[in-house]
Symmetry: D2
Subunit: 361 residues, 4 copies
């Protein structure tokens, strides 16, 4: 019971209790009654905290790493992770999500490997890198979402004379927690140096509502590139429909598309949800709380975002994280597009999803 409710106890009783607790320690035991508030809080009490990382800070440091640190076997990737200050120094943006800026210099290559962790790349600016997924070269361009489902060999190569940076999202913390990570090196040589505009997986799976009957049946998403052209059109259509008085948006001025696996209609990755949000100029969203955590990157435009008690002015490239159950709201005069990824599929698969909306007006 809570100590506040304990009747006063005598010195003898106190000594007996201390002896008991020492015996617990020695036996590798710990009582629930002294810990329950921390273990089972009334509402989520995350260790992670709201945090903002500015693109204007990240990019120069990534460039500097490009000058000083080679890419190659062992370190594998020139990726620099976002560190949530609440998580004891672990390189995690949230307890389940790893987010990083990755940087590939002119003509550089990152060697092949594969792992049970799921990954994606999102491109806030630039182009010129191809990521080969199981030997299928996938161009990376502004606004694109590119997937690397678990246990798919992948390697990157920059075919241009300029560097390119993008963000990576992985489920490293979650997989680390449940100790389900396996990792393998691939060949040191690139599987292919082809640079097609359209990848093979897109040619098979990138047609709306059309399933290729002869294609191998995949367990993970067979579509591994979601192009900005389509995302932009889909978001634009939702706001147009809203103007016409038709359903489509999630709330006034707020369009959302989710990136999904066309072979299952589920999330594009088993452990991470990816979405693009578009806020019309002049929009203020409701305040939303969600069980589970997310990371956002502003893709275009600007605005003010509220995360729990924090309030950030954000613009293109800026990243921030939203701890579980922290209130989240946007206000934007100019309008903005923002990429979001989260552990929603995990929370939902475990039957733990919960959301609350608050009107701020």
């Amino acid at each position: 019971m809570a100590s506040s409710q304990l009747p006063e106890i005598t010195c003898t009783e106190q000594a007996q209790l201390e002896e008991l607790y020492a015996a617990f320690d020695a036996a590798h035991m710990k009582p629930l009654w002294t810990e329950i508030g921390g273990l089972m809080p009334t509402t989520p009490q995350p260790d992670s905290v709201p945090m903002l990382w500015r693109w204007s800070s990240l990019l120069p440091l990534a460039e500097r790493a490009g000058e000083l640190v080679p890419v190659g076997r062992g370190g594998e990737r020139r990726a620099i992770a976002l560190v949530n200050p609440g998580l004891s120094g672990a390189p995690y943006a949230t307890p389940t999500l790893w987010a990083a800026i990755q940087y590939l210099g002119p003509r550089e290559e990152a060697p092949a490997h594969r792992h049970t962790q799921s990954a994606f790349r999102f491109v806030v600016e630039g182009e010129g890198v191809w990521t080969n997924v199981e030997g299928d070269p996938v161009a990376m361009q502004r606004g694109d979402l590119l997937l690397t489902p678990g246990m798919h060999f992948h390697e990157h190569h920059n075919t241009t004379d300029h560097a390119m940076a993008w963000i990576d999202g992985l489920d490293i913390p979650l997989v680390r927690t449940i100790d389900a990570g396996f990792f393998e090196f691939g060949p040191d040589e690139l599987a292919t140096k082809e640079t097609p505009e359209v990848s093979r997986n897109e040619r098979l799976w990138g047609h709306p509502g059309l399933t290729p009957v002869g294609a191998p049946t995949p367990k993970a998403s067979p579509l591994m590139a979601y192009r900005w052209e389509h995302t932009d059109a889909a978001l634009g259509a939702q706001l147009e429909l809203e103007r016409e008085g038709r359903p489509g948006v999630v709330e006034p001025g707020h369009a959302v598309v989710r990136f999904t696996n066309p072979a299952t209609a589920g999330d594009c990755l088993t452990t991470m949800r990816c979405e693009m949000h578009r806020l019309r100029a002049g929009t203020s969203t409701a305040l939303t709380r969600t069980a589970g955590s997310s990371v956002w990157q502003i893709f275009e435009g600007a605005g003010v975002v509220t995360v729990g008690d924090a309030r950030y002015e954000v613009g293109t490239g800026d990243l921030f994280c939203v701890p579980s159950w922290a209130g989240l709201a946007f206000d934007t005069d100019a309008g903005l597009d923002a990429f979001r990824f989260s552990d929603d599929p995990v929370v939902e698969a475990l039957g733990l999803a919960r959301t609350a909306h608050e009107d701020r007006s």
Copy 2:
């Protein structure tokens, strides 16, 4: 037991048996042992037969109906069904599938109704008609597949000065067999006379791998128009991939896309599968037998099709049906595109799917 195995019986025994069988009749009973071969054949013995309907015969008759028969409330649609000669005069192409040519004259309208039967339209030629599905106007153009899921109000209007014909596919026979048909008239006036190029359902759902988060969650396919532009590109890509030595086609020279529900990744309709097939010039397919029946329409090109013991030279617009377990094969010098619809989702849902392939070389 089979009569061949019966021991010889006496006149008395014969009389007793006849008396028993008469008693069965009177009691509304029928023995299995005299019927089992017909009820439970070793392999399917369909009543329906292979049959060809030439577009060059269908279209003039539909045009003549356009001159003589008005469209309106009661008759509802100027649709003329294909009749399989094996099915005792029922207007069914196969025991589960209804197929018809529908014809709408210049400026004509077909009034709104809805029914539990699922329906689609496929356009082999022409344009100028909009089908309004729950008030959402959907343009009908060459090569397009347009859905009307069960219990969606729908009406058609021709906005041009020329007539248009297309084919309708419905699950009327199946729904009739299980007596699950419900039908309602809608308003006599058109819900809308708008003629947008792109329907609202396409604007929300017609983007590859992108799910609109704010859209109402449908039970049936929320995407109700599959445009030829996408179908053509998807088929072309499969054959290109084959040329590059990559997987994609179902067999050499044979590309197939299935029209699917983007909200579930399942078939576009609960009771009918729709597919487009493309055969490269010079292709001869394997002979395939499938439990369940289908109807095909040649969309473009020409070839020879074998269905059971029948062999047809087919060209654009020609329709034929494939009874259950009839061997089906194509040979084409020029190449061809063909639309197929079938009761595969029914056969699969009931655990009765079976397929066999035979090499014809």
Copy 3:
């Protein structure tokens, strides 16, 4: 359009129409507008009719067949089907369901076969027969439901000196309609003559909520015997809970259990639902209409059943069928138990389920 709405037409027009309809016939076509009322009725208009078969009529005829007709290879089973008078002489109880009384004399054997049709046996009285399903001997006793999922070899043998009769239910009409029936003979000799009290499938799967981890994963229900002891207890508990003011019954005085596949929690057979109903003494049920058809057998007790316009006094062993959308209601002074099987899983899988309840008070 309906003829009542046609404007008056001239003799010339009439002749032209007749010429057109003759051309349709010649081209194997049939217009929708003259047929739509039959094809797409406002509510289901089944050909099948309500029908009662009394056990007191069925059993003596089955016994007489036992004297006159041997069981053996070819005829396979001494089963006599219930014939619905509305179905043109086909040996079908409803358009989707086949029901029969099967009779096995003392020491008789019915040889092994298998087929894609799903089957069950329900025992209204008697014992002494074992049905071997894939070599697993399953005792048949009063009140038991025994399954034979599709493509499982099965054979029956009577190990006693008295005859036994029971009812068989199969999806023969449905499988016939979609032409998906395949049939194979098994060995002429019995696979086993063992007569255990409990079958192997029950020993593995017949424990509530317990899944055997090492057992082969089945596609069909791995539990193939549902014993009266459990069914009776489950029904009794529901009525007790009702008396205690707790949820459990489907309506006042009306308990129902559904026989389900413990490996999927779905229906025990893919194409047929099986249930046992118990009505407390003095119960009058609501009138219920359901899309799809069913067959019932009174297991114990007596009452009056209303099916559409028919009204039957029924007692132990009596069978009746319920066509689609016919109103069904029970009134019982003494209380009764009734076994029901239906095509509900088919109707539900196809998205066509619909039910209506009417208060009769």
Copy 4:
């Protein structure tokens, strides 16, 4: 890149790197290349370690807590958790599983609460406590597994003059990691003091293969008590079948039943798998590695268990944990029964399941 592969660097370069790393720190960033081995190991490298807790140590300490610490609002339960020494003092048996001994003295009550965490109780010895789950009193007896699905109010009361101890399993660490825990107090007064032998949920759902049609449709398992009588019979049957040369066991001499949700056929809890294992006398199992962690309690019998590099002689009541990918094997002369719970449903839902077997002979 791995430091071993780095070319020698100059003092200047070293200084520049240190400056870069300091800048990373200041910007809340951390490079992947120095961390990748820990973040993404080749095979799981759990922090948790194999650990044994002897019942003979746990029980006296629980009894002593019974003397010194009252049960009541605030502390909620007299439960003492097992602490894995590898997890930095957190009261977790593994990174995802919380396990505790709970102790309730004569006539004591533990007040009602509910939480999103899923819970179960397993009774290694004793009886006399009822756990009321949503007001349904569930007797707790030797060998029984009792569920408390997430957000079900529950309370315990001991109706006897003797104390009772059992083990609790919860997903506290997992829910804490993803910050999805919500907790509510219930009324201070017991919902019921009834002590029925059979709970209402068992009366509705505890019949093999029988689904109560009128019962409310649950999201979590509607069956919340799995009785030893059934578990024992199911395990015995598997070993009997093995003796008869029939399938059933998972490996020679090793029977396993999984506790499942009869409404879905899935695991009894969304986040935890529960199983009972029985090893025949003289059995040595294969060595098995599994991605994900588990906790075991010996229920009866004795043997030697190998977990990674540890080797324990175990008997009734002893508990041990198995970290991810640690090799697990049993050797028993006398035979034993063991209860296991694990995070398998989580690992499987996330697509991360992996198992390896090694022959030890």
